[in-house]
């Protein structure tokens, strides 16, 4: 059973990782918390749902739909909720307020369109099961793992080898210097948001596919956990987010398996606080100085 729980944890952790990467990308470049990212994740899920419901396409198309819609939404949010603040002097707190506002708007709009309770996400993936003897996985879990791995690999490639990726890394080192060196900051920020949101959208569709239902409020908890994972991995560290997500997934699943599920949420934050005390810059020691 332990191996099975471990497998469960890895599946769950991959979705946490995808969402956390989104947070960390935005934070890395802008040094700002994007509190509407959870809602982007949610909208991506609904986009995937619509594709499946209306046009009866399969999971891959749903994934593309979620990815594209989320990326577009992310870019809109950047232009509407972040850029004006950046242009006006870059307050630290204002983006938090504006993203809370954006999150509220998204939640209400989706509630009006889709209803407040969970909407079933029809999928046949969940029915396929693979019994590998010592563990039992379903088609959707395998799909999640595969998509998560591919996404992270693509991201790694993008960040390391493409021009935009390198510009993003430069910008996250130091935004002003990057601008002086000729990086088009506005574009880089936009691309960052697009990539971060695309990953969030993918995660949303994966969650919908595996857990068979989505709601306009699913972004809230995922959002908070995503931020905790970001901190565990190190603010601004993509690999930290990946590893942190996996760790959190495994820790949570094990805590449910061997303790009580009601303590589950406490583990995410307990772990986070532990890291803050012991190793404040996160597991990967990347990103801005944590200490004063």
């Amino acid at each position: 059973m332990f191996i099975q729980q471990l497998a469960n944890g890895v599946m769950l952790g991959s979705t946490y990782a995808l969402v956390a990467i989104g947070y960390t990308l935005v934070f890395g470049v802008l040094r700002l918390l994007h509190l509407a990212h959870g809602e982007v994740f949610m909208v991506g899920a609904f986009a995937g749902l619509q594709v499946v419901l209306w046009w009866h396409f399969g999971p891959f198309v749903a994934l593309i739909a979620g990815l594209v819609v989320a990326a577009l939404l992310g870019m809109v949010l950047e232009v509407v909720a972040f850029r004006p603040i950046r242009k006006r002097g870059n307050s630290h707190l204002a983006p938090i307020v504006s993203t809370i506002g954006a999150g509220l708007v998204l939640q209400e709009v989706m509630t009006k369109v889709f209803g407040a309770e969970q909407t079933p996400f029809p999928s046949d993936l969940g029915k396929i099961a693979y019994d590998l003897g010592f563990i039992h996985v379903t088609g959707s879990q395998v799909f999640i793992l595969a998509v998560a791995i591919v996404s992270m690999a693509v991201l790694h490639f993008f960040v390391t080898y493409t021009r935009y990726g390198m510009a993003m890394r430069a910008a996250s080192e130091n935004l002003q210097v990057a601008a002086i060196l000729g990086v088009n900051v506005d574009n880089v920020v936009l691309v960052t948001f697009a990539v971060a949101s695309a990953l969030g959208g993918i995660a949303g569709v994966l969650v919908g596919l595996n857990f068979n239902a989505i709601s306009p409020y699913m972004g809230l908890e995922m959002g908070i956990k995503g931020m905790a994972v970001m901190l565990i991995g190190g603010l601004g560290s993509i690999y930290g987010a990946m590893v942190g997500g996996l760790i959190l997934g495994i820790v949570e699943v094990l805590s449910v398996a061997y303790l009580a599920s009601s303590l589950r949420d406490a583990f995410a934050f307990g772990l986070m606080i532990l890291i803050l005390i012991v190793r404040p810059r996160g597991l990967f020691q990347v990103g801005i100085r944590a200490e004063r």
Binding site: Q5, E108, A213, V256
Partner: protein, 381 residues
């Protein structure tokens, strides 16, 4: 000065040409969660309210019409408090139907007691809240303890071929009613019937991942599974259980009684049993007609929320008729309505049949045992 003159003028005209006063309206307050997280309950309830008012707004007798003052609590306790006060003090209602959630009822009921106004919640299922706020607070919904006894009997009988001796309870630890049922009510009744509870495993409202809990349950190898949760979470748990290959029979608490349970769980819901006093596929002609009407108007099947508020409003109207109040003496009318609800015995509610109120202020009816067949709930054989 102008104001005084206007008042005197209007007063003079009124006295001079005053017709015989028209029949007063009887004003009832209604609290529903039209927005926020409980919005889909609220939407269903609003639909049912509209259907009720179309048919029953006129009361007849000394009273004229039934007038409803409807407020949206957003599912928040703060609003429940503010709006209950508003209804009692500013709107001068003679009774209140609502609020929806048990937590809201917890904060609103004491206000009903202090304001000496009857308050009846159509759906809140938490045990003891009406009892703690006598004599003004009532609950229309059945006490879960009354349902689970007969439910388990039918479930065990149905599975007599492979007798169920050991069960695992899966419950929503975050939802007050589900966790109370899972921790107290079910274990008590199960023990009475000689079953052993191997473990009580919990998840939380809003959880999306149940793999850990189910894996743990699977490892215990029970004969049967008991699920105590709302339809959302129950559907996920059940789906996960079937996904992981658990084939044991499942019985669930009243929280699953909603068509969306089946929609979300899909084929995994097949055979799951529960008990209820309202379900959309009830073949009884009165219910079937009402459901068809609802479906035609709103293009969706009504849920428990719709049925319960409809019947509660109907019974309220019955009480208004029976006590002959006319809305003119608010204080006195409130007392009369309270007395009507107290000790109510076998009054026929259109959808759910004979209803009584017990000494705790909780509703008493005969529930039907249901099981999921295909894409709907049917009466369990």
């Amino acid at each position: 000065m102008l104001r005084l003159k206007t008042t005197l003028l209007v007063g003079a005209i009124a006295l001079a040409g005053a017709p015989i006063p028209a029949m007063a309206d009887v004003t009832i307050g209604v609290l529903i969660p039209s927005s926020g997280k409980g919005a889909s309950y609220g939407q269903q309830q609003q639909n049912a309210i509209n259907m009720f008012m179309d048919k029953y707004a006129d009361i007849g007798g000394k009273a004229g019409k039934m007038k409803l003052v409807i407020y949206d609590t957003r599912g928040e306790n703060t609003e429940a408090i503010n709006l209950t006060r508003k209804l009692i003090d500013s709107d001068n209602v003679v009774a209140i139907v609502g609020p929806q959630f048990s937590a809201e009822a917890e904060v609103a009921f004491p206000l009903a007691v202090r304001g000496q106004t009857t308050m009846i919640t159509p759906m809140a299922a938490k045990a003891g809240i009406a009892a703690a706020n006598r004599p003004w607070a009532f609950r229309f919904a059945l006490t879960t303890g009354n349902v689970y006894g007969p439910l388990l009997d039918v479930w065990l009988k149905k599975n007599a071929a492979k007798p169920i001796k050991k069960v695992v309870i899966l419950m929503d630890g975050k939802d007050a009613v589900s966790s109370f049922d899972g921790k107290t009510v079910f274990p008590q009744i199960l023990k009475q019937k000689g079953l052993e509870v191997l473990d009580t495993i919990s998840f939380q409202t809003g959880d999306i991942d149940y793999s850990a809990q189910i894996t743990r349950a699977k490892g215990l190898n029970p004969d049967g599974i008991v699920v105590s949760a709302l339809y959302n979470e129950a559907a996920h748990a059940v789906a996960e259980a079937r996904k992981q290959g658990m084939k044991q029979p499942i019985v669930a608490g009243v929280g699953i009684n909603d068509p969306r349970f089946i929609q979300i769980a899909g084929s995994a819901a097949e055979g799951v049993m529960t008990g209820s006093d309202f379900f959309a596929e009830d073949p009884k002609p009165a219910v079937a007609a009402w459901v068809a009407d609802y479906d035609k108007r709103y293009r969706q099947k009504p849920s428990n929320a719709a049925g319960e508020i409809y019947d509660t409003l109907y019974l309220m109207r019955e009480c208004i008729k029976k006590t002959g109040i006319d809305g003119k003496d608010v204080k006195g009318d409130r007392v009369k309505l309270r007395d009507c609800w107290t000790g109510m015995k076998d009054v026929e509610a259109p959808l759910m049949g004979k209803t009584s109120m017990d000494n705790n202020g909780d509703g008493v009816r005969i529930p039907t045992m249901l099981e999921v067949k295909g894409d709907k709930f049917v009466v369990a054989q």
